[in-house]
Every structure is written in structure tokens, then in C-alpha cells.
């Protein structure tokens, strides 16, 4: 069944027609052609598809598109503002938190949801926030460092 759905994506109004059985991830990647959000398992086990819906990090592969009606959705494509990288993006580059890059969009969004709610997390709180995001390249060391560093950058207003 095809239905009309309205939501805000990265601050812009979206009005689309989509099959109600689709997930938010399907709509982002296959209907809207926004492939920054990654498909890793389709079962909510890896976190590669993490986006922020109404301030909360969610697995977009498990998020029915109909639940996005009226929601504010933020994806990796919406992190940059006016050509400037978000401090979390910059910290991921500066701290060497990016390797293959496939988990990166999901990690960034989990990190943003954390820092929006808790601007001064401890390392353990960082670990908990990215607990649903699998990375096979980094051992998580530099990702945690990047998120902690981003928290500092944000507090310093950079």
C-alpha cells in the first residue's frame, strides 16, 4: 500500500509517497537516493544505519517509515552546516577514528545524540552510547577518543 508521508529531513520539509512496508532506511537510500546512511545487517544488530529521529538515535532499518510521519530526522548528510564540518565530524578525522568508514555515519549520529543530551560524557558513557554500533576496524579506541574530543570542541564553541 502506497501512502503519503510528511517529515523533516535534515531541516527540510519532505513529502513523499512510499510503500508503507518500507523502513526509514529503505526510504532514505532507495527512494530519496541518500546513501550516506549505511545498510549493514537489516536487523538492528550493527548500528550502521543509525539516524536521529526526534532527538533519539535509532536503527533506521527497524524504523517503519509510517512512524516518521511528522518527525524530525537527521542523517549524516545533515551534520554539516554551511559547508563547515560538525565538530564531531572534524574530531573523527583529527583523531583517526575513520578507517573503512562504513560504520562512521552511524557512529557520528550515535555520538551526536549522546552529546546533545550529555555534553560532558565519561568514557563509559561514550561506550554505552555507541554500544549498538559495531566497528570491525578500530577496536573503538580512536572513536571513543574522537567523541570525547568533540565534546570539548563543542563546549569551547568551536
Amino acid at each position: 500500500m502506497i501512502k503519503r508521508i510528511r517529515f523533516h529531513l535534515n531541516g527540510e520539509k519532505k513529502e513523499i509517497e512510499a510503500d508503507v512496508s518500507l523502513s526509514l532506511l529503505d526510504v532514505l537510500r532507495d527512494v530519496l537516493g541518500m546513501t550516506g546512511t549505511k545498510h549493514g545487517c537489516g536487523k538492528g544488530e550493527c548500528g550502521a544505519c543509525t539516524v536521529i529521529v526526534n532527538g533519539k538515535a535509532v536503527n533506521s532499518c527497524l524504523f517503519p517509515i509510517m512512524k516518521a510521519e511528522g518527525a524530525e530526522v537527521l542523517t549524516v548528510e545533515g551534520l554539516q552546516k554551511g559547508g563547515e564540518l560538525h565538530p564531531i565530524q572534524q574530531a573523527f578525522i583529527d583523531k583517526g577514528a575513520v578507517q573503512c568508514g562504513y560504520c562512521t555515519p552511524g557512529m557520528l549520529l550515535s555520538a551526536k545524540a549522546l552529546l546533545d543530551e550529555n555534553p560532558s560524557p565519561t568514557r563509559l558513557e561514550v561506550k554505552a552510547a555507541i554500544g549498538g554500533n559495531i566497528c570491525r576496524c578500530t577496536g573503538y579506541v580512536k572513536i571513543e577518543e574522537a567523541i570525547l574530543s568533540a565534546a570539548e570542541l563543542i563546549k569551547e564553541g568551536r
Partner: protein, 747 residues
């Protein structure tokens, strides 16, 4: 002092990857593209008596269905071994894209191309297959026995290649006459790469030309395999990464578990582009794994603990098809025999067919298995002699220049320093053999080893690169080597800028596209920076000579009096930016272009790891508390990238020791078919990891660099097993150390 080498410059792909703009194979969408789905065998071993595809073909939206009956009957090897097996060994060509016999649960039976992924899946369900189920065998020791089912017909029972053997001195005699002897055994599990981007390909066949976007970590060998299967000239087949690959770790040294030929065949049949993306379960059960198997090490020493004799024997589970065969047991035996100074060594390594997914390349390539059992033997010897495991290692490790079993020089080593640093940071002297009591017990362990910096002498290994100066003096580098996430795109640009004397900011790289780059064997064997870097040095030397000779002729000077650094030519009283020189040359119809062509030598990359663990003697849970990994990687061209390699390798090694395993039921159906069931570690499971770079410049590598990509995976399991032994007094011989195994050992 270098301008760019040794500096943690930011990755050239960082922006693409943090903005979502970077394209991976999963993201490739071509106009009018179809979607493929594969029908897989539910049986571990069966003959296909009939396949009826009529209902599938009749489904609206289905464009092509392929089975063994209408696909190329071309035998191939799905890995780089297809074109990279070192003579006199011959590559084992033992599979078709589709066959009328299926040999493991998950083996390809048919594939469908349709307008949507959902339709393709539905059509797969409409294919009627009649099987004659055949007896199956899953354990390599059982598969070697007379009367076991034949997975393939072979001369030596279920053995695709003759066993790998080395004999130097007289092991048997020296072992028998050694004052102290140990004899240890291990069983090692199936480990899975579990890279984030599943195996995938998007193929576009038209008018006798084929373009394939692929997750492969070796585009040129993949092109060669595809050309053979498709019956096309290699020149008409283009394979490329688009350009990013979501990890690999060995799972696609060659084909991405056959996604490329399946997409290509369907594209040729349907005359449209076809996207074939495996789901996570397919990726877990139907792509190569690390070889599981059985290992044994015998070590003899004199009364002072000086090693006299060492033998390694191994039987590895090859699975249903040979990807890498002799190469993996070769590395397993040779590299783990090349850690200590032992006058009498021997090894015997055999890979055996069974009805499970193929064992293939995975980070460390046999070395983690070999090192695990050798380090177990060394710890057993230390115990027998009542020596400190650290001291027995320092006493016996190879020094630079010592003879060994490998056909290249042991040209450099800082292993002793690595051992000292790792021990110091883990507080070895304070914590080892500390008093233990109570429910939770702590211990520390140490393991060491050596790994390669490229694939030779185990596989064919060579590259070429282009370097070309634009008319504004900026530098183009073209290499066929994929950047699968390790950062080689960045480090190779650093090497190129340094070697030529360019400004780093003006260097651009194109990589992993067979149409725009010369031949390269691929991104594996810890080789990209070392081997391709050597090749860039060759090209840069030539390019620099061209530039300086041209300048010298213009200036009426001698080329040897001129220098080029950071984009400025100086000497003989003159000075000109490379930018202006190239502009002038362009107007005089001159382009500066060079090709580097090298067959790299090899260099040992050494490592010492120390782990501290906590064992809960009531629950059997083992937790790594702290981990120190000290690596002699030669010159660290980009220290931050090196640290990233070490940290990621350690994480995979901890998984190998404690968590990761694919087990099967009695029908051969794998239980661990996704991230959760595989227990892949998340951030909360990781200990503090301290990566220590011990620089020890090696003469053969670019600016003294050696390999590091795989090293961190190699000694981590034995370091953890040694720490557990220190904690609870039991040396476990089977990994991973699940709570059940730990408790069984404590009883």
C-alpha cells in the same frame, strides 16, 4: 628529517567518509539496474537431480534466472591464488559459479535478476530443486580417513594440494636428544571477518565490455578471474572499487564470494546492469572464513633453555573449495618457525576438504594459528625449566642477520625492545606469578611473533604505478591497490610527495580501478605501503631525474647539482617552483611521466603483546583488563594510521581468543549467522589498548617502513591464553575461551 613521512597527516578519504558522500559498492545505482538474489543449498552435500525455473521465469518482473545448466562451465579459484600461486605449485581450480553438486550449506544453486530485490527473492522461492542428499563430512581429521565422503576427487584423500613441509637440520634427532621436551596441541575455531560492508558487486555488461563495481580487495586479479569465467579478453573487463570498501580483512582477496561473476552473468543474460548484494547471513555463511583446525608443536631445549628443535604440524579445515590452500599453511608454518633461533626445525601442514564454507585468507593468513601453538610450546617450556616466559623469549629470539627458514633476509628486528616495552607497560615483573586467590583471579601473559610485509614468497607479488606531473606541477599517482580502510591511499600519497619532492597538498591519487591503473596484486599481506611504496620510490626516482635533467638543460647546469623539495627546484644558482617549470615544459610539448615497476623483497615485522586478564572462576567469564601491543613496523609513515591498525588488530585478536566462533549442527548448518549470534565485541567489551610503535628502519622498505596491518592480530590470542594460565593455572588448548570451556578446564 622528512617533510611528510612520519607525520600523522589527516586521511585523504576522511571528508568523504564523515559526510556520507563517499561511495561504496552498496551505494552504486546504475540506470535501469536489476537486483539479484541467490538461491542457496540447504544441504551440506547433495547432487542436484533437477532444477525447474519455469515458475520463477514466469513471475512478472523477473528478467533472468541462472543455474549450473545455463552458466559458463569454467573451473576457477575464487581467490587471488587463481593467478597468484607461485610455481611450481599450481592453482587449484575446483569450482564453477554454479555446479550440479552442492558442497556446503549456503553453496550457490541459482540466482535471479529482477526489477526489485523483493521480486528476486520471491522468484528464488519458486525455483524447484530436486536433490539427492550425499554423505557429508565436517571435521578435517575425519575427512582424511579412508571411507570418508569425497568432497572432491583428489589423489591424497580430500587434500587439494600436497602438504607443505620444511626441514632444516635434523628435528627428530635433536628433539630426542634435547634435555627438555614439550609437546602441545591446540584446536582453533572458525573465525569470520565480519567486515561491515557485505560482499557485493554491481555489474554492467554491454556490447562485449564488462564493468564491475566490487567490494574486492584486489581489482586486477578479480578482473583476471572474471575474464576467464566470462570468456572475455582481460582488456574488456573493468573492475573497480567505487572507490571505498567497507572493510575486508581477507574475505575478498579475489572475488567477493562470487558476487562479481553472478552479477556479470545475469547482466549479460538480461542485458541490463545487475546489483548483487549479499545480506548479512549470506556473508556469514557463504564467504571465506579463517581456517579452523588442529595444531601441534614440539619444542626441545637444553638445560639453559636454549632451543634446539622445533616442529609444527597442522591440519587445517579447507572447507568445500580451495581459495588459498598451500599459501595459508605455508605462512602458518614458515612464519611461526621464524621467531626463534632454532637449529633444527620441521613442519608439516595439510589442508583438508570438508563440507563447510571455504577457509581462506583472513588477517594474519595462517600465522595466528601457527603462532598460537608455538607460543603455547614456549610457555610450556618456560614452565618446565622454571624460567620467566619473558626471559626464555629474550634468550631465544632471532637477531637481525640470523639464518632462518625464509628465502629473504632477516634484515631488521626490534623484537627485544618490543618485549621489554610491552612487559614494562603491563607491569610484568610485579604482576606475573602474583599470588592468586578468591573468585576473580588476575593474570598477565606475553606472546611474540613475526609477520611479512608482502605476499612473496608465498604468492606472486608485484605492482606497477604511474606518476605524472600535471602542467601546473601537481602530482597524479595511479595505483591498482585498493584502500580497504587501512589508509594506504593517504600513506602512499605521503610516500609519493616525499620521494619526488612535491608539496603534499598538490598530490592526488587514483586507486583500485583496472581501467586507470597498472597491474597490482591487491590489498593484503600487510603489503600496501611496503610493496606499493617501493614501487612509488622507483617511479619518483625516474620522474625526478626527468625533471632535473630537463631543468639542467634549460639552465645549462648539471642535473646532479639540482634538488627538488616541497615543489621547488634549486641549485646551480637558480631556483624555480616546479609549477613554473612544468608550465614552461608543457608549452614546449613536454610531459613528465614515469612508471614504477617492482617486485618487492620482503621484511619482517615484529611484535610483542602483553595482556592482563581477569577470570571469574564461578562463571567462567574472562575479561581482558589491559592490553599492550608493541610493534616494530619499521618507519611509521603515518603514526596515527599505524596505531589504528594495531588497535583494530588487537580487537580482532581478543575476539579470536575469547568470543568469536562459527559452530554447526550435525547437518552442517551454521548457528552463528549474524552479528549477535557471533558475539562480535562492541565498545563496552574492549579493554584499554595501548599501541606502542618501536621504530626500526628496514633498508628495503619505503623510507624504512615495514608491514603492520596483520601483525596485531597474530600474537594476541596466545598472549591472552598465557594470561589466563597465569590467573588460573590452566593452559587452554581450545579457543575461543567461552565460559563453558573455561569452567570445564577448571574442574
Amino acid at each position: 628529517m622528512y617533510n611528510y613521512v612520519g607525520k600523522s597527516l589527516p586521511r585523504q578519504d576522511g571528508y568523504d567518509k564523515v559526510t556520507g558522500a563517499g561511495v561504496f559498492t552498496h551505494d552504486v545505482r546504475l540506470p535501469d539496474m536489476l537486483h539479484a538474489k541467490v538461491l542457496r543449498s540447504p544441504h551440506a552435500h547433495a547432487r542436484i537431480l533437477s532444477i525447474d525455473t519455469s515458475e520463477a521465469l514466469a513471475l512478472e518482473g523477473v528478467r533472468a534466472v541462472v543455474t549450473w545448466e545455463n552458466s559458463p562451465r569454467v573451473l576457477f579459484n575464487a581467490s587471488d591464488a587463481h593467478t597468484g600461486t607461485m610455481p611450481p605449485n599450481k592453482p587449484v581450480l575446483d569450482q564453477y559459479v554454479f555446479d550440479n553438486v552442492v558442497r556446503y550449506v549456503g553453496d550457490e544453486v541459482a540466482a535471479v535478476a529482477a526489477l526489485t530485490p523483493g521480486l528476486a527473492e520471491k522468484a528464488c522461492g519458486l525455483i524447484k530443486v530436486e536433490y539427492e542428499v550425499l554423505p557429508a563430512v565436517f571435521d578435517p581429521l575425519e575427512a582424511m580417513e579412508e571411507g570418508a565422503p569425497d568432497v572432491h576427487k583428489t589423489e591424497l584423500k580430500n587434500t587439494p594440494v600436497p602438504p607443505f613441509q620444511i626441514a632444516i637440520g635434523n628435528f627428530q634427532e635433536a628433539y630426542e636428544s634435547s634435555e627438555y621436551k614439550v609437546d602441545v596441541s591446540m584446536k582453533v575455531p572458525v573465525q569470520k571477518h565480519a567486515q561491515l560492508e557485505t560482499n557485493a558487486a554491481v555489474a554492467d555488461y554491454r556490447d562485449g565490455r564488462l564493468t564491475v563495481y566490487s567490494t574486492t580487495q584486489s581489482v586486477h586479479p578479480t578482473k583476471q578471474i572474471l575474464a576467464l569465467i566470462m570468456g572475455m579478453p582481460e582488456s574488456k573487463v573493468r573492475v573497480l572499487n567505487p572507490p571505498y570498501v567497507g572493510g575486508a580483512f581477507g574475505v575478498r582477496c579475489g572475488l567477493s564470494a562470487k558476487a562479481e561473476p553472478i552479477a556479470a552473468i545475469l547482466s549479460r543474460m538480461a542485458n541490463k546492469p545487475v546489483r548483487c548484494v549479499y545480506d548479512r547471513e549470506e556473508d556469514f555463511i557463504a564467504s571465506d572464513s579463517r581456517h579452523s583446525g588442529y595444531l601441534q608443536a614440539k619444542l626441545g631445549a637444553d638445560k639453559d633453555g636454549v632451543f634446539q628443535a622445533l616442529e609444527i604440524r597442522g591440519v587445517l579445515n579447507k572447507g568445500a573449495y580451495t581459495s588459498f590452500g598451500v599459501e595459508v599453511v605455508g605462512v602458518m608454518c614458515a612464519m611461526s618457525l621464524a621467531i626463534y633461533r632454532v637449529p633444527n626445525v620441521a613442519c608439516h601442514g595439510r589442508t583438508v576438504y570438508t563440507n563447510v564454507q571455504a577457509g581462506g585468507a583472513m588477517r594474519g593468513f595462517g600465522n595466528p594459528q601457527g603462532t598460537a601453538v608455538v607460543e603455547m610450546a614456549v610457555d610450556a617450556m618456560a614452565k618446565k625449566l622454571n624460567m620467566d616466559p619473558k626471559e626464555i623469549r629474550l634468550k631465544n629470539i632471532l637477531e637481525a642477520g640470523d639464518p632462518w627458514c625464509l628465502p629473504f633476509m632477516n634484515s631488521s628486528t626490534a623484537l627485544a625492545e618490543c618485549i621489554e616495552k610491552a612487559a614494562e607497560r603491563i607491569k610484568w615483573s610485579e604482576k606475573r606469578n602474583a599470588f592468586k586467590a578468591g573468585k576473580i583471579r588476575r593474570g598477565v601473559g606475553l606472546a611474540v611473533g613475526n609477520h611479512v610485509s608482502n605476499a612473496w614468497p608465498f604468492c606472486v607479488d608485484f605492482d606497477s604505478v604511474y606518476l605524472r606531473l600535471e602542467a601546473d606541477g601537481s602530482l597524479q599517482l595511479a595505483t591498482g591497490v585498493p584502500d580497504i580502510g587501512q589508509g594506504s591511499g593517504t600513506t602512499l600519497m605521503q610516500v609519493a610527495a616525499e620521494a619526488l619532492g612535491s608539496e603534499f597538498e598538490t598530490v592526488a591519487i587514483t586507486f583500485s580501478d583496472t581501467e586507470t591503473t597498472p597491474f597490482d596484486v591487491g590489498s593484503h599481506a600487510s603489503r600496501t605501503l611496503y610493496a606499493v611504496g617501493i614501487c612509488i620510490l622507483e617511479a619518483a626516482k625516474d620522474l625526478k631525474r626527468q625533471v632535473l635533467e630537463y631543468t639542467a638543460a634549460m639552465w645549462g647546469a648539471r642535473a646532479e647539482d639540482l634538488t627538488l623539495e616541497r615543489g621547488v627546484i634549486r641549485g646551480a644558482g637558480g631556483e624555480t617552483p616546479l609549477r613554473e617549470l612544468c608550465r614552461e615544459a608543457h608549452l614546449l610539448s613536454k610531459e613528465f611521466i614515469a612508471v614504477g615497476r617492482t617486485t618487492p623483497p620482503n621484511a619482517p615485522s615484529w611484535h610483542a603483546h602483553a595482556a592482563e586478564v581477569e577470570v571469574d572462576t564461578e562463571t567462567g567469564m574472562v575479561r581482558v583488563v589491559k592490553y599492550v601491543a608493541a610493534h616494530d613496523c619499521g618507519t611509521a609513515v603515518n603514526p596515527q594510521i599505524v596505531e589504528g591498525q594495531i588497535e583494530g588488530g588487537v580487537a580482532m585478536g581478543i575476539g579470536y581468543a575469547l568470543r568469536e566462533e562459527i559452530v554447526r549442527d550435525e547437518e552442517g548448518v551454521p548457528y552463528n549467522n549474524g552479528y549477535h549470534k557471533y558475539m562480535l565485541a562492541t565498545a563496552g567489551d574492549m579493554p584499554e589498548i595501548e599501541a606502542i610503535i618501536v621504530e626500526c628502519s628496514d633498508g628495503s622498505g619505503p623510507f624504512g617502513a615495514k608491514g603492520v596491518g596483520e601483525s596485531a592480530m597474530v600474537p594476541s590470542a596466545p598472549a591472552i591464553l598465557a594470561a589466563v594460565e597465569d590467573a588460573v593455572g590452566v593452559r587452554y588448548g581450545e579457543m575461543p575461551l567461552t565460559p563453558e570451556r573455561v569452567l570445564n578446564g577448571l574442574r
